[in-house]
Symmetry: C2
Subunit: 229 residues, 2 copies
């Protein structure tokens, strides 16, 4: 296993907690926040929880800091932020990124409608574009990988739970896809499933509102998906 | 179990065969085609296969006819046609429909891109609309239910196979949703999952290209999906 330094931007939220508690077993985790002090405080909380789960077998650690500092220092940067804060977060970190890094986007543009949740990707000249694709266009040289759209943050945050889910991954950079696939495999028992270039991220971003609607209308809570043969 | 008369429009294709072979166990099946003679020929083939599977326990039968005649006679009309032929098929049957009928749409607008398959819903004034929603708007009084987007036609066509999949269903008419959910349950071991009003069909139509991309890029063939708690 190759140890990587992972930044969780906006990592003080549910999804950030889940990924921090899973990956700290083997990796160094940087919890980014808009305020460094909040990042530090929450990182300390996560670390206490993580020690409770892993004890001495834990190889990584968890530190908190401001989003741009976490982004600058990490090998892999995961955008564990709601869509509403994505643009301002990207603006704040953009100048600190390097092409050797990997950005992972579970971000999904969606809106609450009268009943349920609706996927709302960008439309440009009549053409639909996923958030991940739009982000890649903005970041140019830094590879963007779309992943982790349909994982229950609640279940992720309990490392004693085995997650028998599939994680669809889209991306153009083969090496970056492999890094994210490996990080996925380390979360017991997630199975990474490559679903093609970033252009096809549309079909995995729409899984987030689908899962939410399954919870709303069919009372299947904190579910994820699996591909069944 | 309430026996219903089911029209499979364009039912001479893979998806039509699968649904015919599954539902004929309990229901009367009308295989629609652009040419009545082709519908009749294929229906006879299906019927021979079905008798081989079910023998004397089969309650239904299978007849072939032109699409408009099948549509006029049925309680439930399933559009087992590729998107490319959907518009012309709808035009041919529109005048024969009644508000007491139910239209089931597994139809998905999608295009083959350089690598993989891309969901391509309608865009109107910058707003994205699923095929099922556009169809409901055109048909006005006839309830449209979106379902069966992610079922493997190949596995459906072998009634000895147990399908441990979930079938997400979207629709506005509660009674129609219940009819389609019941028809889904009759296919061993499909589980219907209501995912909200037809406005939310976008997120299930996009499952079809997703499943195709999973086959292309990850070699998981003839898969479907399940929601895992």
């Amino acid at each position: 296993m190759v140890e990587v330094k992972i930044a969780l931007l906006g990592g003080t939220g549910d999804m950030g907690e889940g990924l921090a508690l899973r990956w700290v077993k083997n990796h160094e985790i940087l919890v980014g926040s808009r305020e460094a002090s909040k990042g530090m405080r929450v990182a300390a909380e996560y670390l206490t929880k993580a020690k409770g789960f892993y004890g001495d077998s834990m190889k990584g650690t968890i530190r908190g800091m401001a989003n741009p500092d976490a982004a600058a220092e990490a090998d892999v940067i995961v955008l564990t932020i709601p869509y509403e804060y994505a643009a301002s977060t990207i603006i704040s970190i953009k100048d600190r990124l390097q092409s050797s890094q990997i950005i992972v986007s579970p971000v999904v543009p969606m809106v609450k409608v009268n009943r349920g949740m609706m996927y709302m990707p960008m439309v440009e000249d009549g053409k639909i574009m996923s958030y991940a694709e739009a982000l890649a266009r903005e970041l140019k040289d830094v590879p963007v990988i779309a992943a982790f759209h349909a994982i229950s943050a609640k279940k992720l945050a309990n490392p004693s739970l085995v997650l028998n889910y599939d994680v669809p991954i889209a991306g153009d950079d083969e090496k970056a896809v492999e890094v994210v696939a490996n990080l996925t495999r380390e979360i017991h028992n997630l199975r990474p499933i490559y679903v093609g270039p970033l252009k096809l991220a549309l079909m995995i971003e729409s899984l987030t509102p689908l899962i939410i609607n399954v919870a709303i209308f069919s009372k299947i809570k904190d579910a994820s998906i699996a591909f069944v043969e």
